[in-house]
């Protein structure tokens, strides 16, 4: 069961990160805290930061550094226009499979 949960969660984290960035920019730790509050998602930094790094590399998000009241500069992430378009695609796909899955779970055969 644990392995299955991990697999399901893996695919959703990227969508959740991008969805969380839709509201505006956030720095890594801030984003991690926001996602940690999502029940069942149970994300930690070793999952979130590598995804943020890859999303940056691929151009879906961009980063700007800003001074922090404590320590090194905070790195604020923001969706690029391409990232926003991709998020919409991901959301559409998610809604499709959510409907199909719910229909199957509820025994709704045609």
């Amino acid at each position: 069961m644990r392995a299955w949960i991990a697999q399901v969660r893996k695919g959703l984290v990227e969508l959740c990160i991008m969805a969380a960035l839709r509201k505006g920019e956030a720095y890594g730790y801030e984003l991690l805290q926001a996602l940690s509050n999502a029940e069942g998602l149970a994300v930690t930094e070793s999952t979130v930061y590598p995804i943020l790094s890859r999303l940056t590399k691929e151009g879906w998000v961009r980063v700007r550094a800003a001074p922090s009241p404590a320590g090194p500069p905070r790195r604020y992430y923001r969706l690029t226009p391409f990232g926003l378009a991709r998020l919409r695609q991901m959301e559409e796909y998610w809604k499709d499979i959510e409907e199909s899955t719910n229909a199957l779970i509820e025994g709704g055969t045609e």
Binding site: K10, G11, L12, V13, E14, L15, Y27, G28, Y29, L32, T44, E45, S46, T47, Y49, P50, I51, L52, S53, R54, T56, K57, E58, G59, V63, P67, S68, P69, A70, G71, P72, P73, R74, R75, T80, F82, A85, R86, Q89, M90, Y93
Partner: protein, 182 residues
Amino acid sequence: MGEAFRLDEDARRQIDKHLDSIDEALRNADMSRSERQNILDDVETQIVEMLAARTQGNPTVDDVKAVIAELDPPESYAAAPEGSQARGLDSGSRGTAHGRWTLDKVALACSIGGVVVTVLLALIGRFVLGGAATTPCFLLALEATGLILGIATWHRPLGKAAAILSACILILVIVYMGLASA
């Protein structure tokens, strides 16, 4: 480090040790230097912010150890969930985590390459072959390829750029050919 937050040498060394371990784990997961640095910067910011929330400005080695104990162990970065996760929508266009030649890149190469090859052929025709006429076959073929691949990878920035560039070039060439034959 900021003015308001001071770490003594031992505390700093403890943080660096943790960051080095993560770096090693990421390197073993075949991650590029820039990606590793991004991750390490985020982890460092998190550590410092957790220390700031925990102490009033001068954290001790024990504070640092306590914060690090709350974090994922460096080995969890080596597990690299990134390599296999959340790539569903793009898996068709990305060969490996650090793929060099994905379809969108090929599309853009065709778009730009078409123009470059055509210009080179025109120069060779003019200066080497003494004014032999060149046909835009290469250009049309490469731009058509760029357009098709660009549309297929429209969801990626380079794919979109390739499709738009190829479409513009194709329109220009067709208009030019129409005017030339008229």
